[in-house]
Symmetry: C2
Subunit: 163 residues, 2 copies
């Protein structure tokens, strides 16, 4: 079975797949009489012929080693995951190789980071590592079959990043 | 000085102003081989001639009693606040009375609740009550003056809900 080591989330390494939404750098604007920093418009969202919606996902926490069997993508829209807790979570993506997912990569976010998968990016299902596993999801609301799933011929084992 | 007691967040009482985004009721869909519940499309978003964006707000935590001096509204778009922590926060809104804010109401959310102000709703600035005061904000990205502010003639004191 293929084994992949999760790596700490990196804006650069993740850029091919999506956006890391965090407070890196200075705020773009200070608002509310100096009491709030705005880190402005940090994700490339695309809902094609649909529109943006906010849903909540409550997922069962997983643990390392994690067995990856399925990758999916949404051809008609981006999908952002915002953790409603102060825990990092596991993010799995894969490049597209001729319409199928290539070798996956796994990232472990820091607390305080959300992520956004660009439209059509192959990714694993939501994998929190801690309770409550609660996320706000900003994705496309609209008609049509906005889900493609691929079961892997061989499961991939994702192991924890070196501590 | 007028004093207002914050009330526990109520979907019904808040409905005139916006949406409570939480996991009330059964999930609309079970996904990911039974491991995740999707609470689908829980906010009425409206970005007029702009589009949806995700920004992060990092705000200084406040405490009770809180002195409200300013209300604001966004004429061209809704604005959702998703706490990236497991803490409730203070939400202040006011009805519109002839183009100015009327008597404000204050709500204290439960952990695990996000909120969405409908387009044009008078509201107070972001008021977390706990560190880290970190929120994902889904609001309108676009041109034009999307902010109206009104300083109150008399500040309003918001006190904690009865425990």
């Amino acid at each position: 079975m293929t084994e992949i080591v999760a790596q700490p989330m990196s804006i650069e390494a993740f850029a091919l797949f999506g956006d890391v939404i965090d407070c890196a750098g200075d705020p773009d604007k200070i608002i509310n009489q100096g009491k709030c920093g705005r880190y402005h418009d940090r994700a490339v969202m695309d809902f094609s012929d649909g529109h943006a919606g906010i849903s909540l996902f409550r997922a069962e926490p997983r643990s390392f080693p994690y067995t990856l069997e399925l990758l999916e993508r949404h051809p008609y829209g981006s999908q952002a995951f915002v953790p409603m807790s102060e825990h990092g979570f596991l993010v799995i993506v894969a490049p597209d190789v001729g319409g199928k997912p290539g070798t996956p990569l796994a990232f472990l976010t820091e607390p305080g980071q959300a992520i956004n998968f660009h439209r059509g990016t192959w990714h694993g299902v939501l994998t929190p590592l801690h309770a409550p596993g609660l996320f706000a999801v900003v994705d496309r609301i609209g008609d049509g079959a906005n889900l493609e799933e691929v079961w892997l011929d061989q499961p991939v084992t994702i192991t924890a990043p070196p501590s």
